[in-house]
């Protein structure tokens, strides 16, 4: 005699939140998540290189975060939690569409110590003052993606090595070495730019 397979138990319907619960959820989300909107936007902009994609990515991140808000342990690291959601959304949806996966071999990028070049002429780095925001952002956007995201999380958003390692899902040692090379590479490009603009003489090639 054939027995029908046991039917899966019906999941209980999701509890309908009371108006009070909805208010509390909204208040805690505003307090802990929405305050990081500017940070999320800055990171999104550097990842997508495009204001309209950054808008969409941030909006999607906030919607996902609000839906999953019960999974976030209140009072812990909301910024890290949100950035993790943002990065996953970026990898899953935007990177595939907007950019080709990176083919640069990061290990072949030679470190270049700018300080060694300018310690005679401008050891206080006064030439930095003449480089405007847009030029710096442009130089960051040209870094290889793995360098760019590490540098932005550290140097723009001020996250610790540990927090960055968690978001990027790499060991702390990798964060350190990427950060080192990202900073050196960025410095070298800004230095080249400053030389080309005549802000500093630079050393003869």
């Amino acid at each position: 005699m054939a027995t029908s397979p046991p039917s899966p138990p019906n999941p209980p319907p999701p509890p309908v939140p009371s108006p009070q619960e909805t208010d509390e959820k909204r208040a805690s989300f505003e307090r802990e998540a929405l305050v990081h909107l500017d940070s999320l936007y800055r990171v999104a902009l550097r990842l997508t290189n495009n204001a309209s994609d950054a808008d969409d990515l941030v909006q999607e991140t906030m919607l996902k975060a609000y839906r999953a808000w019960h999974q976030y342990e209140k009072g812990t690291n909301a910024k890290g939690w949100l950035l993790t959601i943002l990065r996953h959304a970026f990898i899953n949806e935007y990177r595939r569409r907007t950019r080709h996966p990176e083919t640069v071999d990061l290990d072949t990028i030679e470190p270049f110590a700018v300080f060694g070049e300018i310690q005679e002429e401008d050891p206080q780095g006064a030439f930095f003052d003449r480089i405007v925001d847009d030029e710096v952002l442009r130089a960051i956007d040209q870094l290889p993606e793995a360098f760019r995201e590490t540098l932005v999380l550290s140097d723009v958003e001020g996250l610790s090595y540990q927090e960055i390692a968690k978001i990027l899902e790499v060991p702390v040692g990798t964060v350190k070495s990427r950060l080192f090379r990202a900073r050196q590479l960025l410095q070298a490009r800004l230095y080249d730019y400053a030389v080309s603009m005549g802000y500093i003489k630079g050393s003869p090639a």
Binding site: Y41, R42, L137, L179
Partner: protein
């Protein structure tokens, strides 16, 4: 601590990611070694410069309105 060891920890030191013991050793070396001191100052200045140049940008007000509307039907 020699110069090479000191410079090896340059960014960890500036990022406040070193142990208190290591931090003390580095400070002692920097006091005694002006070239290393200059290099650390230069890198610290670079990091401050980066942050200053990149932090002014915030989310556009329209994006914030859009998100609030989506989340809370406003």
């Amino acid at each position: 601590m020699n110069c090479r060891e000191c410079v090896e920890h340059l960014y960890e030191f500036l990022d406040r990611e070193v142990t208190p013991e290591l931090e003390r050793d580095i400070r002692v070396h920097l006091e005694e070694c002006p070239p290393c001191g200059e290099q650390f100052d230069f890198e610290e200045l670079f990091l401050k410069f980066l942050r200053a140049r990149c932090s002014s940008q915030g989310a556009p007000p329209e994006l914030k309105r859009r998100i609030l509307r989506e989340l809370f039907d406003e």
